[in-house]
Structure formats: structure tokens, C-alpha cells
């Protein structure tokens, strides 16, 4: 059973990657070999890794905030990270400082949302999402203002707010790859212990695991993975929300499995969305990838609210 599911996942991933290479404005033949090798393949790698980072960060956000509706987007962390990145770019700082600026401003956003929703020993789930969405609106407006005022271009506003994989070079791919893989390895190895964070704070403090440490590192990991993906591909909404949900539905709630499969299927979902955004318009124009994920993810969000409200918030 286990062997078959692993085999199934491998085959599915090969299929997703092959589809990513095949579909697009330029058809797959010997004349276009170079375009595909130098433009499409790196883009696919970027989309795949960033998708993994988004899925993993969503799993971590949901765990530490004990809230199944949390991800980088709904907590406002993604848009506050984007604000930091936009400011760093406007100031003309070098490329490796962009994720750092994004991380710091994302962390600030997370702390604000956390403080607003703190209630006794726990967090108010509804306030958390409300605060996140308000933060998202405010920071998005500031980004739009900065871009409009300084760049006088609407195109870059769309990139930051809707996401897209237009920026890739070896350095960026390496930064994204190594930060995602190192967080993934750490959280996967410690996956079993992370389950302690699913319990209420008081119970978790007496289960024999350093709750405080794992909570802090999960916060930092979730915010950093969000920041790094936002820095190079803008805000891609809802991937981190949908994927851990589906994973828990199929594989159960054990964090070891949730971490592993959220990363894999986050990568798949993002790559599929990017493939669709590249090939859905017949003339060869492309859509920002966030349009696809927002339509799918927004619908999914409403579905969860309608159908599973009583099950997801165990209060």
C-alpha cells in the first residue's frame, strides 16, 4: 500500500513536470530546444521549489497558529514581506538582501497579527484571520502606492500582488533551493515532535518536548519561507492554505506526513497553476499565476467555511 502510494506520487510528479515543459506558447521541437532549456526549464524549477516552500510554510502556519485557515496569505505575512522586498528594491539594495528585508517585514507583520489575536493562553482564530486580511489590504495598498509613484508602471504592481515566475537566474534559484531544502529537512526530521504544538499551550508545556523552541523555529521557518517565495515571485495566494488541508484529508494529521506531502503537493499545485497560466490564453499571452491560485484557493476557502466550519475549529 505504502509502496504504491510512493510510486503514484513519483509518477504524478513526473507527469506534472513533463506537462510544465510541454505546454506553453513555444511548442516542443528541436528548433525551440534552446528557448525551452534556458527559459522554460529554469522557470519550472523555480515554480516547483517556490511551490514547495509555500506548501511547507502553510503547514507550519496552520500548526503554530492552531488554525486551519492560516497560511502566508491569510495571515498577511506574504503581503508584509512583499512590502519589505519592494522597499529594498526601491532603495537599490543587492539581490541577497531582498529576502532578508522581506523576512524582517514579514516577521513584523506576523507579530502584529499574533498580538492582535492573542487571548489568554490561546489565539482567537477568527480575529487572527480578520487581522491578517486587514494587514494584507493595508500593505498591498502601500505597495501599489510605492510602485505607482516611483515606477509609474502598473505591470510591476500586478507582479507583486498576483505573483509570477519571471525572475530567475542561477543565484536566485540557488538561494530559494537551499533555504527551502534546509528548512524542509529540519522540519521533516523533527516532524513527530512538532505534533506537540497541535495541543493547547498548557497541555503542550508538559509533554516532554521543548514547546517554546519548536514554536519559535516554526514561526521563523514559516515566515522565512513565505518571505523567500514572495521576494522572487510575488504574492501567490492560497497555495499554503489548500495543500495542507488536502494532505491531512488523505494522509492524516501526523506532522511528519503533513510536512512531507505539503511540500511535494505545494510544488505540484504551483507548477500546475503556472503551466495553466502560461497556456490558457490561446494568443500566447500569460496570466499572473496568482489569478489561478486565487480563484481555486478562494473557492476552496469558502467551501471550508461552509461545509467544515464545525469540524475545523475545535472550540
Amino acid at each position: 500500500m505504502k509502496k504504491y502510494s510512493i510510486l503514484g506520487i513519483v509518477v504524478f510528479n513526473i507527469f506534472v513536470i513533463a506537462a510544465g515543459i510541454y505546454f506553453g506558447a513555444v511548442k516542443f521541437n528541436s528548433d525551440n530546444y534552446n528557448i525551452i532549456l534556458h527559459l522554460r526549464v529554469p522557470r519550472i524549477i523555480m515554480a516547483f521549489i517556490i511551490g514547495g516552500a509555500l506548501g511547507l510554510s502553510g503547514a507550519l502556519f496552520q500548526l503554530v497558529l492552531k488554525n486551519p485557515l492560516a497560511d502566508g496569505f491569510t495571515t498577511g505575512v506574504a503581503s508584509s514581506s512583499a512590502l519589505g522586498a519592494v522597499v529594498a528594491i526601491s532603495l537599490g539594495l543587492p539581490v541577497f538582501t531582498i529576502p532578508v528585508a522581506a523576512f524582517l517585514s514579514g516577521m513584523l507583520g506576523l507579530i502584529i497579527v499574533y498580538k492582535i489575536s492573542k487571548r489568554g493562553t490561546g489565539l482567537n482564530s477568527v480575529t487572527l484571520i480578520l487581522a491578517g486580511i486587514v494587514l494584507n489590504i493595508i500593505t498591498s495598498s502601500i505597495i501599489s502606492f510605492l510602485k505607482y509613484y516611483f515606477d509609474e508602471s502598473v505591470g510591476t504592481i500586478v507582479f507583486w500582488l498576483m505573483g509570477g515566475f519571471y525572475q530567475f537566474d542561477t543565484l536566485k534559484i540557488l538561494i530559494v533551493f537551499f533555504s527551502t531544502i534546509s528548512f524542509f529537512i529540519f522540519f521533516y526530521i523533527n516532524g513527530l515532535k512538532l505534533n506537540v504544538l497541535s495541543f493547547d499551550d498548557i497541555t503542550a508545556s508538559n509533554m516532554g518536548i521543548n514547546q517554546r523552541f519548536f514554536k519559535q523555529i516554526s514561526f521563523i521557518g514559516a515566515a522565512f519561507l513565505t518571505a523567500i517565495s514572495v521576494s522572487f515571485s510575488g504574492i501567490i495566494a492560497f497555495v499554503g492554505l489548500i495543500v495542507p488541508h488536502i494532505v491531512r484529508g488523505f494522509f492524516g494529521s501526523n506532522m511528519k506526513r503533513v510536512i512531507l506531502y505539503s511540500t511535494i503537493f505545494g510544488a505540484d499545485l504551483t507548477l500546475i497553476s503556472d503551466t495553466v497560466s502560461r497556456s490558457i490564453i490561446p494568443s500566447g499571452a500569460e496570466l499572473p499565476v496568482g489569478i489561478i491560485t486565487s480563484i481555486v484557493g478562494g473557492g476552496f476557502f469558502i467551501y471550508i467555511l461552509l461545509k467544515k466550519r464545525d469540524k475545523i475549529w475545535n472550540e
Binding site: S198, S205, N206, M207, G208, G252, N314
Partner: protein, 246 residues
């Protein structure tokens, strides 16, 4: 000599509420019931004894060592705690939830055969075998409490703290759980609301009011005056039961 907890001049404030305990000892294998009206400090005291609240003034020695000096793993092998609102945010199976009680014994990244064996044994004892693969969120309030009690006891500790173990639990299981913990070879400290239920299973009774311990009595010293002082409700004694007088 055999003191498990030694409390000296403990002061703790939480908002407007203040807890003050001058001198207090808990001995090995004590079976203590904490009683008192709502908001008298029962949960606060248990949260302090479990080292969840650490911003207190005064000293608490736990096995002759400052409670604050224990690390999580060390402490969780000696002390388990069922909090008042123990809950879990994601839909684990009952088996997984109870298995997580074995975390203090985790070596490396996997539970041992012994951990699985003990979890299975506890499922059997608690008559939860048929719920083994049920999801936690599908259980009723009382069943959830039962699972959380089982998780706490799966930690197999010398000291067991329970904050209202019988809340939301039906009478049959209340009797089962109180009987079970009263026979444990551990020090048990539990807050409980039902005085008659507590009288059947505990030996030492602590009555709290406004953040202070007002009585610390053994079972046969409890009378109507003690209960009146504690609850401001008149009780009549009928046989070995106390019935509130409306």
C-alpha cells in the same frame, strides 16, 4: 522527607487575581482533591504546580529541586497534567492522541515497541479500543475528555495533576476515572466540583477561597461548617453524603 512539593511563600498575580500560599507540602502518594468555588484559584494553583506559570514569587521545590530548574523532558517524566480545557487543534485519531503521551520517553525520531504496547494497553483499560481509529473531532465532549485523561496517564508519572478530570464526563466514566487514579501508585492532585464524588476517592482535601488555602483536611474532618465557609452554601449531612440546602 518524602515531600513531592514544598511550597514556601508563593505569591502569584494574574490580572486582578492574587494567589498566596504561605507554607504547603505535598507528600508521596497523597491523593488530594482541591475544592472551591469558581475563580478561587484551583486552576491557577495547578498551572503553577505544572510549571506552566513561572512568573511567581517564592519557592517551589519539586522532589527537593527547584521546579523551575527542570527541563521539559525531565519534568514530563515525573509530572503529567490534564489541563481544564485540554484540546487538540487537528484531527488526529484516538490512538495517535493517546500515543503522544509517550513523548517524554521518545528516543530519536520514533516511538518504541514499548510505547505502542503501553498505548494499546491503556486503550483496552479505558475501553476505547473500538474508537482506536476514530477521529478526535467526531467524539462527544465526554469522550474527548476520556481520551485526554488517557493521554495524560500514558505519561506514567509519579505525579499526576488533573484539572476537573470529570467535567463533561458521564457518571459511569467519572467513577471509573476516579477509581483508576485513586489506585495509581502516584501522587494525585485533582480539582473537582462534586464533593460527594471526591469523598469516595480522595484522602486529603484542600479547600480554597480567594486565592488562599482555607482548609487542608483529611477526609473525616470535613463537615457542614467547612463547606459553608468554602461555598457559602448550607449543606445537610445525610449518612456520608452532603446535600445542599436550598
Amino acid at each position: 522527607m518524602n515531600s513531592v512539593y514544598t511550597i514556601k511563600n508563593l505569591k502569584f498575580s494574574y490580572g486582578k487575581f492574587q494567589l498566596f500560599i504561605e507554607n504547603f507540602k505535598i507528600f508521596k502518594n497523597d491523593k488530594i482533591a482541591i475544592l472551591g468555588e469558581n475563580g478561587c484559584g484551583k486552576s491557577t494553583l495547578l498551572n503553577i504546580l505544572s510549571a506552566y506559570y513561572i512568573e511567581y514569587i517564592g519557592d517551589i521545590l519539586f522532589f527537593n529541586k527547584n521546579l523551575k530548574f527542570f527541563n521539559e523532558k525531565e519534568r514530563a517524566k515525573k509530572l503529567s497534567y490534564l489541563s481544564q480545557f485540554a484540546t487538540i487543534s487537528f484531527n488526529y485519531t484516538i490512538y495517535e492522541t493517546i500515543l503522544f503521551g509517550r513523548f517524554p520517553y521518545l528516543k530519536g525520531e520514533k516511538f518504541s515497541e514499548e510505547d505502542y504496547r503501553k498505548t494499546n494497553l491503556l486503550l483496552k483499560k479505558f475501553n476505547l479500543e473500538k474508537y482506536r481509529n476514530r477521529e478526535f473531532f467526531t467524539l462527544s465532549g465526554g469522550e474527548k475528555r476520556k481520551v485526554m485523561v488517557a493521554r495524560t496517564l500514558n505519561q506514567e508519572t509519579e505525579v499526576v495533576l488533573l484539572d476537573e478530570p470529570t467535567s463533561m464526563v458521564d457518571i459511569k466514566f467519572s467513577l471509573f476515572i476516579l477509581d483508576y487514579i485513586s489506585k495509581l501508585n502516584s501522587t494525585v492532585i485533582a480539582s473537582i466540583h462534586d464533593i460527594n464524588l471526591a469523598l469516595q476517592f480522595f484522602q486529603r482535601f484542600i479547600f480554597m477561597k480567594n486565592g488562599k488555602i482555607i482548609f487542608d483536611l483529611c477526609r473525616d474532618k470535613i463537615n457542614e461548617e467547612v463547606l459553608y465557609e468554602t461555598y457559602e452554601v448550607r449543606f445537610n449531612r445525610i449518612g456520608s453524603y452532603f446535600i445542599p440546602d436550598y
